[in-house]
């Protein structure tokens, strides 16, 4: 009787490991026929696309509508890795992703210049806003320029939450402080979360802090926030997303056709319509403005790379 218990346990363990591995190879329902060793994983390899993107596109929910539409249209299986733009660009640099959807024009330029990124195209934009507690201790409500608002926050020493994760938002925020001629790093009121947009927004909300946030993430979470918009509409707060393919000639393992298919899809009429239809449930306001038919100049960006 006792021996049977042990055997039973071992059997269960074995079955579990086999099933788990199988569900690894058979990730998607449509992936079809029997998974068999290496030949299937090679085929899976050509079918899978790794998309490295920002936390804002995931936290806002946009990818939840965009990715299924793409998968339905093609035979590809998309693996979305939502990290900061800095990390996404690093993945592109090493060939660890096939295609990037990111928002940090200056850093994007470096990737394209290095030859690791190719075929960069404009996808959409929205804007950043500055949120803060309703009491607005630094008195930035009514200001129209970010530089002026940052000066006030700096003088008042009001808590400000920075992401500090080298994301697109983090990069923009630091460039705005620089523009204001201020360096808040090290100040006791200037704090760093080291996390994605959604998580950082939650922390800022708990701490009654000022924060620079993209509009889509704010809208997606508005229900659970007490922070309010204190500044919006400054042209410096434009948030432009581009798609960049990772150069398959440079990295053996990069899925060139897959990356291209995904990039082509996000600028296609169908995807652009999906983006236009992706609105805030409460206000009906669009969260992203599709831009595939526009140029960087149309958006008021002086050079193609901002």
């Amino acid at each position: 009787m006792n021996g049977k218990w042990m055997l039973f346990g071992l059997l269960v363990a074995l079955v579990l490991s086999i099933t788990a591995l199988e569900c690894g190879e058979n990730g998607d329902d449509g992936s079809g026929s029997s998974p068999q060793g290496t030949s299937s994983s090679a085929r899976e390899g050509a079918k899978d696309i790794i998309v490295a993107t920002t936390t804002s596109t995931q936290d806002s929910g946009l990818l939840d509508v965009l990715v299924p539409a793409f998968e339905e249209e093609t035979r590809y299986n998309v693996k979305v890795i939502a990290v900061g733009t800095g990390q996404a660009l690093a993945m592109g640099e090493r060939g660890d992703a096939d295609v990037l959807l990111v928002h940090a024009p200056a850093s994007e330029k470096m990737l394209v210049d290095s030859g690791a990124g190719i075929n960069r195209r404009l996808v959409m934009h929205n804007d950043f806003i500055i949120l803060g507690p309703e009491s607005d201790p630094a008195g930035i409500k009514g200001t129209t320029s970010t530089v002026e608002a940052f000066e006030k926050i700096y003088e008042a020493g009001s808590t400000f939450l920075n992401r500090g994760d080298d994301s697109g938002t983090d990069k923009l925020e630091r460039s705005l402080w620089k523009k204001a001629g201020l360096d808040p790093s090290g100040a006791s009121w200037y704090e760093e979360s080291g996390q994605g947009m959604g998580a950082t927004l939650q922390i800022a909300n708990q701490r009654d802090a000022y924060i620079l946030c993209d509009r889509a993430t704010y809208f997606a979470q508005r229900g659970s926030l007490s922070l309010v918009i204190l500044l919006e509409g400054d042209p410096a707060l434009l948030n432009v997303y581009s798609v960049i393919q990772v150069n398959p000639d440079k990295f053996d393992l990069v899925n060139g056709p897959g990356g291209e298919a995904f990039a082509d899809f996000v600028v296609s009429d169908k995807a652009q319509q999906i983006i236009a239809d992706f609105v805030d449930e409460v206000s009906g306001e669009p969260l992203f403005i599709p831009d595939a038919d526009k140029t960087y100049e149309d958006l008021g960006l002086s050079t193609p790379f901002g």
């Binding site: 006792n2 042990m6 788990a20 591995l21 936290d59 660890d96 997606a220 990295f251 990069v254």
Partner: protein, 231 residues
């Protein structure tokens, strides 16, 4: 307070409705962590037995290593496995990164030292005369191992509980090597983190409740087996 009550109520609604791929995510968590524990049992018992029955120079050092490994930071394991499995890494060709298999690898590395440590300790505490006696009765090496393991099944069950608890509650490594992909590698812990970062606390609470109940059930089953065998 409102958040807690509303969250709990909403999460119960979610649990009742069975929406949100809850069961799929739960099953995946169970499969991945269960496989990891099964593999760590194989490795852990083998290494543990080798460490317990052999006396050689450096054995003490290896045991210290294993004991250190019992507190191995999962996030370090995650980084290590990710570096190895990224396409740019040495095993990139295998295309394992962002698959459940990668998560099994990471969790196995986390759970194996735990199982090894428990096994070594248990086997060392065994009466050494048992081995002599079993040998005297003419058992083969394999039979001998089986008998010895049978004698230590209680601590081994404890090792399984500890290993499983460590594996299924783990988040850092899972998100790093799995990528938290919906329908593929999203497990209970990574789903909780995602929902919280999206400000959706109700599903996060629902997922947490499932995780707790799951760990409770596994421990309940193993403990009852342990108690039964113990008497």
């Amino acid at each position: 307070m409102d958040l807690i009550w509303d969250g709990l109520r909403e999460s119960l609604d979610i649990l009742r409705s069975g929406d949100y791929d809850l069961w799929q995510i739960t099953l995946r968590s169970l499969l991945i962590s269960g496989s990891a524990v099964a593999l760590s049992l194989v490795f852990g018992v083998a290494i543990g037995a080798a460490l317990a029955f052999n006396d050689f120079r450096g054995r003490g050092f290896l045991v210290t290593l294993v004991n250190t490994g019992m507190g191995l930071p999962p996030v370090v394991v995650g980084l290590l496995v990710a570096i190895l499995l990224w396409r740019s890494g040495p095993f990139g060709q295998m295309r394992l990164i962002y698959t459940p298999a990668a998560m099994v690898v990471a969790q196995t590395i986390i759970a194996t030292p735990i199982v090894t440590g428990f096994t070594t300790a248990a086997l060392r505490h065994l009466d050494p005369r048992l081995r002599t006696q079993v040998y005297a009765l003419g058992a083969s090496r394999l039979q001998m191992l089986w008998i010895i393991l049978w004698e230590t099944k209680l601590p081994l069950l404890a090792a399984v509980m500890a290993g499983f608890g460590g594996a299924i509650s783990e988040i850092g490594a899972s998100i790093m090597v799995g990528g938290n992909l919906a329908g593929e590698t999203r497990v209970l812990t990574t789903a909780v983190v995602l929902e919280v970062s999206r400000g959706n606390f109700a599903p996060a609470i629902a997922l947490s409740l499932i995780l707790l109940v799951l760990i409770f059930i596994v421990n309940l089953v193993l403990t009852s087996v342990q108690q039964q065998e113990g008497t």
